[in-house]
Amino acid sequence: MGIKCLANCLLVNLKHNSLPHILAAAVLTATVPIVFGLTSLSAPLSAQPLEMYLPLVGTILMTPTFLPEQNEDILDTIRVRRMSYLGICVMRMIYMCLFATVFFCCIIGALAAGESVVTPALFAGGLCSALFLGGLGIFGSAIGGNSIIGYMASLIYFVGNFFLKKRLGVFYLFALSEGTGVSKLWLLGGTLALIAAAFAYLRYIKKIH
C-alpha cells in the first residue's frame, strides 16, 4: 500500500465523508466568541469555553468515523478492497483529532489575543475533554451499529456533566473550570480505552477487518 494510495484515500475521505462534519465543527468554533466573552478571563474562566463548549467538536468530528459504511452495501464494497477498513477508520480518526487540535488552537489564540490567562494545561485539558467525548461517540457508534447512538452517548454524557457535576469523579469534563484538581490524564486514558474497545469489538466480534 503506497503513500500515493494512502494520500488518495485521505483526500477522498476528506472530500466525501468528512467535509460536512469539519464545516459543522468550524461553525461551532466560530460561535465561541459570541457565546463566551474571551477577554480578560482568569484561568478558571478561560477554561469554561475550552471545557464547556468547544469539546463538542470532538463529538462532531470523531463520532462519524464509521458513518459512511453504516450503509451495508458500501461496507460490502469496502470489504473486498485490499486496504484494511479499520485502517481507514484509524486514519479518519487521526485526521479528525488533528482538526480538533486546530480548532482548539484557534480559540487559544483568541483567548491570548483577548489578554485572558492561557496555559498549556488549559489547552491540553480542553482537548482531552473533546477527545473523550469523541471516544464515547466512536464507542457508541461501534457498539450500537449506528452513528446516531454514538452522538446520543456523547451528547448525553456532555449534558450530564452540567447536572451530575463532580459525581462523575475522574471523568468530570469541567475539572479545570471548577478547580477540582483531578488530572485530565484520566480522560485521555478513558479515550484510548473507549477507542480500543470499539475497534476490538469491530475486529473480533463483528469480524470486520
Binding site: 466525501h16 463566551f36 466573552g37 480578560s40 463548549y53 462519524p64 458500501i74 446520543m152 448525553i156
Partner: protein, 417 residues
C-alpha cells in the same frame, strides 16, 4: 390500530429505545427529583417557631432593590468590569466610548450625583479588593442613595433595563434577573409556615412535587426524543424497506401519523412510569393519606405530553427534509441554549418550550401564570400536530419521486460511490 401496535412494538424492542428509557429514568428522574427527595429532608417537616434559618425568599422591598443594584452598578462602572451571561455563559464586558458615557448618565439619574464615579472614589471607603495584581476589582462602600425618594420603582426598572441593554443583555440588571440578584432575604417563620401549608393543603403534596417532576422532565424531553426519532426514521432505509413501503397501498398521512402517535406514546412511557414511582416516593415521606395520587400522571399529560408532541412533530418534519444527523445537531444546539438561558422558575412566555418551576412550592406563582401556561401548552400541541401533518406531506412528495435524493440539502451529506 394494528399498525399502531406494530410500530410501538418496533420502537419498544429497539436498542435505542432501551437507551432512551435509561436516559430518561437516570437524568430526568433518578439524579433529579429522586435525589432531591432523598436529600431535602427539611421539606417534610412542619416549620417550628424559634429557628434561626427558614431559608431565603424574594422580598418586596424597593429600598433594598434600588440601593443594592445601584451600588453594584456603580462599582462595576468604576472598575469598568461587568459580568454578564447573555447565552448562559460568562462574558466579562469592558465598556468603551459612548456606551460608558450612556451608563454614566444612567447612574447620574439614579444617584443624583453629577459625577458619580469621582464622587465615590473621593468620598467612599474601600470595602475590599478582588482579583490578581493585573486585574483588581475594587469594591467601594456606597452610601444610602434614597433612590425611591427621587423616582418611581417603574422608572428605576426602566433605567436598569436600559443599562442591561447597553451591556448586551444577560446582566444582573436584566428585568428577569434583577429581583433574584438583589432582592433575596431571609424567610420568616410565618412565610415558611404559609408555604408549607400551601403544599400540604392546597397542593395535597403531590401537586407540588408533580410540578418539580415536570420541571426536570421538561428539560430533558426536549432533547432525548430526537435520538429516538433519528434512529426510527432511518430504520426503513437501513433495513432496505423504504422502497417497498413507498409502493404499499397505505396512505402517506395514515402511515406518518400512526408512526407519530406510536413515537409519542412510547416516549411518554418512561415519563408515566417515573410518575408512578415518584408518587410512591412522595408517599414514603408524607404517608398516603391526603395526597392526590393522580397528580403526577395529570401533570405529566398536561405539561410533558405537549413538549413530546412538539419535539416529535418538528423532528419528523426536519428529518424528511435534511439528514438525521444534521437534525440531531440542530435540535441539540437549540436545546442547549434554551436550557442554559432560561431562569429556574417563573417568567415563561407562550413560545418557551421549556417551562421551569424548580421547586415543590410556589403554587400561587404558578397559578398566576396558569393562563400563559395553558396558551403555551396548546401552542406546542398544535405546532407538533401541524409539523406531523407537514411531515406526511413531505413524505408523500418523496414517495412520489418529487422530492429527495439529490434535490435536497441531503446532497451535502451524500456519498458518491
Amino acid at each position: 390500530m394494528m399498525l399502531f401496535g406494530k410500530e410501538c412494538k418496533r420502537i419498544i424492542f429497539s436498542k435505542i429505545y432501551l437507551l432512551f428509557f435509561a436516559a430518561v429514568f437516570f437524568f430526568s428522574f433518578y439524579t433529579q427529583i429522586w435525589s432531591d427527595l432523598s436529600n431535602d429532608q427539611d421539606s417534610f417537616i412542619k416549620p417550628k417557631p424559634g429557628r434561626d434559618d427558614y431559608g431565603i425568599t424574594l422580598i418586596d422591598d424597593p429600598e433594598v432593590l434600588t440601593q443594592e443594584s445601584t451600588a453594584q452598578l456603580l462599582n462595576d462602572l468604576i472598575n469598568n468590569e461587568f459580568t454578564t451571561y447573555p447565552y448562559g455563559f460568562i462574558h466579562v464586558v469592558h465598556l468603551k466610548g459612548s456606551d460608558k458615557e450612556k451608563l454614566s448618565i444612567i447612574l447620574q439619574k439614579l444617584t443624583g450625583f453629577p459625577d458619580p464615579e469621582n464622587y465615590v472614589k473621593s468620598n467612599c471607603k474601600i470595602a475590599g479588593t478582588w482579583g490578581d495584581t493585573d486585574e483588581v476589582y475594587t469594591d467601594y462602600e456606597i452610601p444610602e442613595l434614597n433612590i425611591t425618594d427621587r423616582m418611581s420603582i417603574e422608572d428605576f426598572r426602566a433605567l436598569m433595563t436600559e443599562a442591561d441593554n447597553i451591556l448586551g443583555g444577560g446582566s444582573s440588571y436584566a428585568p428577569d434577573r434583577i429581583d433574584q440578584e438583589f432582592c433575596l432575604g431571609p424567610m420568616s417563620y410565618e412565610q415558611a409556615l404559609e408555604r408549607y401549608n400551601e403544599l400540604i393543603e392546597d397542593d395535597k403534596v403531590t401537586n407540588g412535587y408533580a410540578r418539580l417532576f415536570c420541571d426536570y422532565h421538561g428539560i430533558f424531553m426536549v432533547l432525548f426524543p430526537v435520538f429516538l426519532i433519528a434512529v426510527y426514521h432511518s430504520a426503513d432505509k437501513r433495513s432496505k424497506m423504504e422502497q417497498l413501503i413507498y409502493t404499499s397501498s397505505i396512505s402517506s398521512v395514515r402511515l406518518t401519523l400512526t408512526r407519530f402517535a406510536a413515537l409519542v406514546s412510547c416516549m411518554m412511557l418512561p415519563v408515566l412510569f417515573t410518575a408512578v414511582l415518584c408518587n410512591f416516593r412522595v408517599m414514603q415521606f408524607y404517608g398516603a393519606a391526603g395526597l392526590d395520587h393522580f397528580a403526577m400522571i395529570k401533570y405529566s399529560l398536561i405539561w410533558i405530553l405537549p413538549t413530546v408532541i412538539a419535539v416529535t412533530g418538528i423532528g419528523m418534519l426536519l428529518m424528511n427534509l435534511i439528514h438525521p444527523i444534521a437534525v440531531v445537531l440542530i435540535q441539540f444546539a437549540a436545546w442547549f441554549f434554551l436550557a442554559m438561558m432560561g431562569p429556574l422558575s417563573g417568567h415563561f412566555g407562550v413560545f418557551d418550550i421549556i417551562i421551569r418551576h424548580n421547586t415543590e412550592y410556589g403554587r400561587s406563582e404558578f397559578m398566576d401564570s396558569l393562563p400563559v401556561f395553558i396558551e403555551n401548552r396548546v401552542f406546542f400541541t398544535v405546532l407538533g400536530l401541524v409539523c406531523a401533518f407537514a411531515a406526511s406531506f413531505v413524505w408523500d412528495l418523496r414517495r412520489g419521486g418529487k422530492l429527495g435524493g439529490n434535490k435536497m440539502p441531503r446532497k451535502l451529506f451524500a456519498r458518491k460511490s
